[in-house]
Structures are given as structure tokens and as C-alpha cells.
């Protein structure tokens, strides 16, 4: 037994060491960088960040995107996993097709949708044939903020719904079909079975999926840059701008701290809001 324990520690030690070095040291550095400016400790970097013209837009855009996109994706993924449950033929194929976006990078997804939404793109071609527009129209400029927002929204839904879908499918596989059958014997309608049996049993998976997805949504970056460029500032693209273009590591670190805090708050929110309730099967 004692040998087992020593062996176990020897086996996990490298990964612990690695994670400690790659997580804790940069974490400490981020905080140190964020709170010092020209050698003095204080909030100067944060003041500089908040005083920037694009800061308010970046916060509003990021929050707006998360608040709109995550619930839509959850609803869509729930629908898709329920459809898959009732699919009899071609299940494997549909499963694969629906999870393809999981492997697509956010930059590639942004470029794909840029090609569709651009002035002479496929969307405008369809609108033209339908007689809605008479020539190329640009949707992705700062003069058309709503269209730009919707464009990024659609690209995000296309790309990142798959991750929620896959987590939910993994969860539904653990739910015995008998539960729904029993509910159905007692006269529950399809909606009641979904609402009262499936969703409560799926709660742990929903929680995981929401945490994962929300963390990633706060990190939206390449999709946004590819489609909107600097016309649609978000938190991470601002951090990148300060780091790479302005070479101001302090303000970039301040953005990093802000993103961490927001992510942490969102995770805690989901942990509390979706905790198992009394009287429910965990």
C-alpha cells in the first residue's frame, strides 16, 4: 500500500509541477504587472484602461455577446441532443456532422463567416436574388453596429454550439430511457417529460457546459477580429492591442485581471445557481 502511494505521487508529480509553473508564476506576474506602473504600486494601469475610449465599448460588447449567445446556444444544443435521442437511422453520421465545429478554430470560423457576410458575399447574393437589396451592401462596419453584432453572433453560434451539444449528449447517455418511459406511462406529454425528467437529470452536464462555454465566450477574440476588426472591440482584443501594438504590458495585464475576475464571477454564479436542489436526484 505504501509503495502504491509513493508510486502515485511520483506519477502525478510532473504534471503538478508543470501546472504550478505554468499557472501560478504567470498568475503572480499578471497581478504584479497590473498593479505597478513605472515602478510604483497602485491602480494607474486600471485607470489608464478605464480611461481608454474603447474600454466601455469593449465591456459592453463582451457582456452583450455572452448574455445573448450563451442562452441561444444552450437552447439550440438542448434541442439538438433531444433530436439525436429520437433519431433512429444515421445517428453516427449526424453526430459527427453536428460536432464538426468543435474542431474548427475560432479564427477559421471568423474567416468562413467573413466570406459569407462580406460586401460581395453569399448572404448579399441571396438577398439580391430575393430582391431585398439591389447591389453589394456592407454590413460589417462601425456604421452598422447591429448588423455587425448579429454577424459575430451567428458566427459564434455556428462555431461554439457544438461544445455544449457534445457535453449534453454525453450527459443524456447516462439517463436511462426507463425514466422517460415511466413518465410517459403516467401520462406526461413530451414537453413535461423534457421539462420535469430530462432537464433536471441533465443539470450537472448543463452546469459544466455553461461554465466551459461562458469562460470561452469571455475570451472571444479571433472570430471578432476576423469579422469586425477593431470596429467591434472586446476585452481580449483590447488586451492584445495593448500588449502587441502599444507594447504596454501593464494595461494588458490589467485587462487580464479583469477577464479573470469576470470569469471567476460567472463560474461561481453557475455553481450556485445550478447546484443540486433538495429532493432531486443528484
Amino acid at each position: 500500500m505504501r509503495r502504491d502511494r509513493l508510486l502515485a505521487y511520483a506519477l502525478i508529480a510532473p504534471s503538478i509541477l508543470f501546472l504550478a509553473v505554468i499557472f501560478l508564476i504567470p498568475l503572480g506576474q499578471t497581478i504584479a504587472l497590473a498593479f505597478t506602473r513605472h515602478g510604483t504600486f497602485g491602480l494607474a494601469n486600471f485607470a489608464r484602461m478605464a480611461g481608454d475610449l474603447n474600454f466601455r465599448n469593449a465591456v459592453a460588447n463582451t457582456l452583450g455577446l455572452v448574455i445573448v449567445v450563451v442562452p441561444l446556444q444552450l437552447a439550440l444544443a438542448l434541442g439538438m441532443s433531444m433530436m439525436l435521442r429520437h433519431l433512429k437511422r444515421g445517428r453516427e453520421l449526424i453526430l459527427w456532422i453536428w460536432s464538426i465545429p468543435l474542431g474548427v478554430s475560432d479564427l477559421a470560423a471568423g474567416l468562413v463567416w467573413l466570406g459569407i457576410l462580406t460586401e460581395k458575399g453569399y448572404l448579399n447574393t441571396i438577398l439580391y436574388h430575393l430582391g431585398v437589396i439591389h447591389g453589394p451592401v456592407s454590413w460589417l462596419t462601425y456604421e452598422t453596429p447591429l448588423a455587425l453584432f448579429i454577424g459575430i453572433l451567428v458566427a459564434e453560434i455556428w462555431r461554439a454550439t457544438a461544445i455544449i451539444f457534445v457535453v449534453l449528449v454525453a450527459g443524456t447517455q447516462l439517463i436511462p430511457a426507463e425514466f422517460e418511459e415511466a413518465a410517459s406511462v403516467f401520462g406526461a406529454t413530451a414537453w413535461q417529460r423534457f421539462r420535469r425528467v430530462t432537464v433536471p437529470l441533465l443539470r450537472p452536464s448543463i452546469q459544466t457546459a455553461l461554465i466551459l462555454r461562458t469562460v470561452l465566450a469571455f475570451e472571444a477574440f479571433a472570430v471578432v477580429l476576423a469579422i469586425g476588426g477593431q470596429n467591434f472591440p472586446v476585452l481580449l482584443s483590447q488586451a492584445y492591442l495593448w500588449q502587441d501594438t502599444n507594447q504596454d504590458y501593464g494595461v494588458a495585464a490589467a485587462y487580464a485581471v479583469l477577464i479573470m475576475l469576470i470569469t471567476l464571477a460567472a463560474t461561481l454564479f453557475y455553481l450556485v445557481a445550478l447546484r443540486p436542489r433538495a429532493g432531486e436526484v443528484a
Binding site: A8, L19, I100, A222
Partner: protein, 268 residues
Amino acid sequence: MRRLRGSAFAAGVAMLAAWTLLPIYLVAIGGFGGPDAVYRWPKSFWPENLSLDTFRRFVAIGGIWQATEQSVKVALITVVLSLALGVPAGYALARLRFRGATTYRLVILLTRAFPVGILALPLAVSFARFGLYDTALGVALVHTALALPFAVLVTASLFVGIPRELEEAAWVFGCTGPGAFRRIILPLALPGIAATAVFSFVLSWNEVFAAAVLTLRHRTLTAFLLTVLSESPLHIQLAGGFMLIVPSVLFIFLVRRYLFAMWGIASR
């Protein structure tokens, strides 16, 4: 009535599949069609003048090919590192009892609820000090932090699925501990480990932010495409997008059997 509902259901499934596939199809005909296809108005939805020529020209543009090579290099280092660190830990979690196992599992899970990419911001500073800035290894270290939690949890679930009796039988027949692992456990776990490797590769291949922050001249493909976004013509960008997508789609196909095991376990 039932027939009607059945066909509505099938139509819904087909529409969602089309919604996934159509954009990939469009970027493919855009990328292969070259400038003529990209700037044509109104657009054709059928492939016309597809040519490898456009693609070759795209690849020939300064930097693209090197960037692709760099991406492959970074991804391979990531695969090696995450397996080397993750497989032993996964085995320990699955087979051995030790104090702190639950805490360890929790810590590994929690790293996933953390915006890992932003760690690259301060690392750019300290990597410069250690000569890791703008190197494949430097980027791969951050990508390993992304891939390691998967490697640990997935391999743990693989080893749990292999009956302990097999290993014990090997011991009885005179195998040493490491020998039994190598001859009995590893071959059985190999397909799953391969899937983990593929998944780590895709994670690294797709990552943009850390790669862009940590490189300057030796860009990965994503970092390269990101930095030339505003200056390169659209057909080049579409070809680049297509180039990024192809391996990912293939990889997802290869690991599709493990996808759900991965995310299912990783969520508990």
C-alpha cells in the same frame, strides 16, 4: 399526423446538418476559386474554376508555408508533452489509492474554468528572459497547459475501463509492474491514447491568442493569419481559413468515438 411529424423531424435534422456543413462548403469554393470567385458579383453557389493554382499561390506567399510548419512543430511538441505528463497521472488516478487524489482531480478540472490564454501575456515577458520567446517550445508549453487536463482525465477513464485482473494476471505470470503496463495495459489503451494525442494536436493547431502573443517572426499559422488579417486580400484569407479547417474536420472524424467519453468524463 404521425407521418407529418416524422418528416418535420427529419427536415429539422437535415437543416441543422446543412447549417453546419454549408459554410465549410462555401469557404472551400471561395478558397479554391481564387480572386475571380471571391470578388464576383452576384456570387455563384456552384464551384467554378476550382484550381489548385490559387492554393499553391496562397501557400507560396511569404511566410504561409513556414507558418504551417511552425504550427505542426508546436502541435507535435504539445502532443508529446501532454502525453508524457498526462498518461502517468491518468494511470495513478485510475489504479492507485492515494491521499489527495480527489483534490488533484478537482484542481485539474478547475484549470479548465480558467482563461488559460491570457497567461501568455505575462509569459511573453518572462519567456524573453529565458530565450523561449518566439520559439515553438514556448508556445507549446502554454498549449500543453490547455491540453493536459484532457490528457489526464481521458487516460484515467481509459485505464479504469481496463479490468484490473488482466494486470494482476500478468504479475502472476511473472511480469514486473512496468512490464505488465507495457505489454498488457498500454496496447489496450493505445487507441484511446491516440485519440487524446489527436485532440491535443487540434487544440494546439487551433489556438490563436497565446500563439499570437508569444511569437514575432516564427508565427504559427493561426498567429500568422491573424496578423495579416487587415492587410491581405480576401481570397487569401478564405484559403487560409479553409487550410485551417481541413485537418480539424479530419481529426474530429478520427476521434469521434472518443469525443463523448472525453467530454462526458471531463464534466464530472
